[in-house]
Amino acid sequence: MSDKKSLPVAIFDWFDARLPISSFWRTQLTRYPAPKNFNLWYFFGSLALLVLVLQLATGLFLAIHYQPNPDLAYWSVLRGIERDSHWGWLIRNMHIVGASAFFLLVYLHMYRGIMYGSYKKPRELLWLVGIFIYLVLAAEAFLGYLLPWGQMSYWGSAVVTNFVTAIPGIGKPIAEWLRGSFVVGTPTLNRFFVFHVFLMPLLLLALVLVHLIALHQVGSNNPDGIEIHENVNETGWPRDGIPFHPYYTVKDLFGVSVFFVIFFWFVFYNPGGWGLLLDKLNYTPANILHTPSDIHPLWFFLPFYAMLRGVPDKLYGIMTFAGSFALLACLPLLDRNPVRSIRYRPVLYKINIFMMPVSFIWLGIIAHGSATEQNMVFGLHVTEVFYATFLFLPFFNRERSLIAKLAWFLVAEMVVWGIDVWMYSIHAHSWHLMLQTDWIPATYVLLIFGLSVLFPSLARDSGKLPERVTAGGIFH
């Protein structure tokens, strides 16, 4: 009696007829073709998903013991969670390290997309949803940072909610509406708690789901940037594709294991992360009457802090800061060259993409320093480089004539020096101070366009793309 089903199979079939279990498993995992040449950079997406789950799980336990009230919040964390509840310290350390890990993974995941052109057609929407995930994640981190009610929590939130007041006319009412008060206080803590544990996680989960659905609709890109679906065998299966399960599930398991070694090293041996993952000033309860001499965000927001500090006007500062998000969102519009992967783009393009994280990290280092005028000007000039790495992308869309190259060079230099002239004209900074660092963007402009004039081959697309994906790199 071969057609007689055993009981477990019958039960499964009963559910399978009513829920798309096996068809989902098949289409999304065992018959989902993933390119076979994923390299090290392709670990970070799944790891970010893992950290999201970790944050939700640890956050649940923290929320059980946390008191969203200014009189109790600080001590509910340091006494109730860390000292009085069993394993509370472990849960809290995991949540702290998890927050930083989330940002590190998301930054690496984004840079992977930038390097391999994963924002280009047909993945523009996928990229845009990713940017929204990043924005919600940033909001989630900012809201959560207030909850321990330490000095840096309090004053960090005070500074950020004050930014909003820079918007002409409606800024002040909006800031009061956000805080629920004229200053950061009880209503602020209550609503930040609700947003942090309820609204933002919900949004984050929904957006991550949309991100995954969009990914599976258009298919994964790969380090060579060539479309695997354009080369299929007679059954319609991409010749360069392998089933996601089991190949990438076993590979990601390896990635998860290695990630946990690093993650738990921090959790058990360095939960404060040299004062970078958790500011030391946060071991002082919030004091509304005592402003710390140096207020700065955690490491993952430091580059944006340098941008804000670099511009001697609150509104323009916020526009610079928001502009960097807008540039990220506009990547599909800026870079319209059909070649996706950095591997097959010209040398100067490679340098430009390389300078993107370099200037970003550089901004972070500057913001980590004290708020001297020198550091502010330094930050402004490196911000110009960061902006340039995005705004120069259209230059590489096709081969440019000599006249066009010279025009790009002149306009870019004029903008760089124009900003300094403007700063001088509004008496923001002295030339003496600005000349110390404005050679940085000026030289960068000279490097990209000067070399493209002298050695046109450095800015020329070779036009050679491989027929099939290629192996190479770590963990191919």
Binding site: W89, V261, P285, I351, Q374, L458, G472
Partner: protein, 270 residues
């Protein structure tokens, strides 16, 4: 060929750029906020030294708690850290008349202390996470006579501190070692060290021991789970190292069908 050359040129350029940048990135000393710092004295923390921890606990719970609280710590949670039984703890250290499971609060009310010294003394629970042990040790031992202050003393690492020199009876008074330096960017005479002025009830070695024990205890209170963390840590890390090896082997076994190990080139699947 041309592609090869441009690839190589690109890598060279990246290398030059990266090394050049590293030179610039190094943070510069900012001129406008320069403050001459007194050097910190080094201290070695030893969480296993129970006699030192008990001595530190004695001073913190009987001297410091006159003004300071340790609001997140219960007397009962200290016994394990100090390696004592409840009866020993109650006999040798005591709870200042409070219940054994009570939180350690200051003996004077905060408002009275504020009237005395002008500010509320910080809670000491996590003071060793707020400041480094070296800083705390230097702070406790570096009060010097300064007639311009209401308390009559100042401190080399915490300029114009509101805390009076409660160690004076033990340590004796000290005078500053002054150098010409900067404070918040302006030239100023800065105390970078101290020298004994009068003799206290303890010898310098005894007092140094006491200060170290106090910092050792404060560190232990601020890091209540450090020993537990470091005991469990190797097992958890070991587990994931082992898992990494195993999952890597599984990955290689599965992927044998996809890549040939010889040329690291793709086999055509399906």
């Amino acid at each position: 060929m041309n592609h090869q050359v441009s690839r190589r040129a690109g890598r060279l350029l990246l290398l030059v750029l990266a090394t050049g940048l590293l030179g610039i990135v190094s943070p510069r000393a900012s001129a406008s906020l320069r403050t001459t710092q007194a050097p910190l004295k080094q201290i070695k923390i030893d969480l296993n030294n129970k006699p030192a921890l008990r001595n530190g606990a004695l001073y913190v719970l009987h001297v410091c708690t006159a003004c300071h609280s340790l609001q997140a710590v219960r007397y009962s949670s200290l016994t394990k850290m100090l390696g004592m039984h409840k009866s020993e703890f109650l006999r040798d250290i005591g709870t200042n008349g409070k219940h054994y499971h009570d939180l350690i609060t200051s003996n004077m009310s905060p408002s009275i202390i504020k009237a005395f010294v002008g500010t509320t003394p910080p809670d000491l629970t996590d003071i060793a996470r707020r400041h480094s042990p070296d800083w705390l040790y230097t702070y406790l031992t570096s009060f010097y006579v300064d007639p311009s202050r209401p308390t009559g003393v100042n401190n080399t690492v915490f300029y114009n501190t509101a805390m009076p020199d409660i160690f004076a009876p033990y340590q004796g008074l000290q005078k500053p070692v002054i150098v010409k330096g900067f404070r918040y960017g302006s030239p100023a005479e800065v105390a970078v060290g101290v020298k004994p002025l009068t003799q206290g009830s303890m010898t310098p070695a005894q007092f140094d021991r006491t200060a170290r024990d106090i910092v050792n205890f404060l560190y232990a209170v601020a890091h209540p789970h450090q020993q537990q963390r470091e005991r469990i840590g190797p097992w958890i890390l070991g587990l994931f190292v082992l898992l990494s090896v195993l999952t890597y082997l599984i990955y290689r076994i599965y992927w044998r069908r996809v890549i040939t190990s010889k040329e690291r080139w793709w086999k055509i699947t399906r």
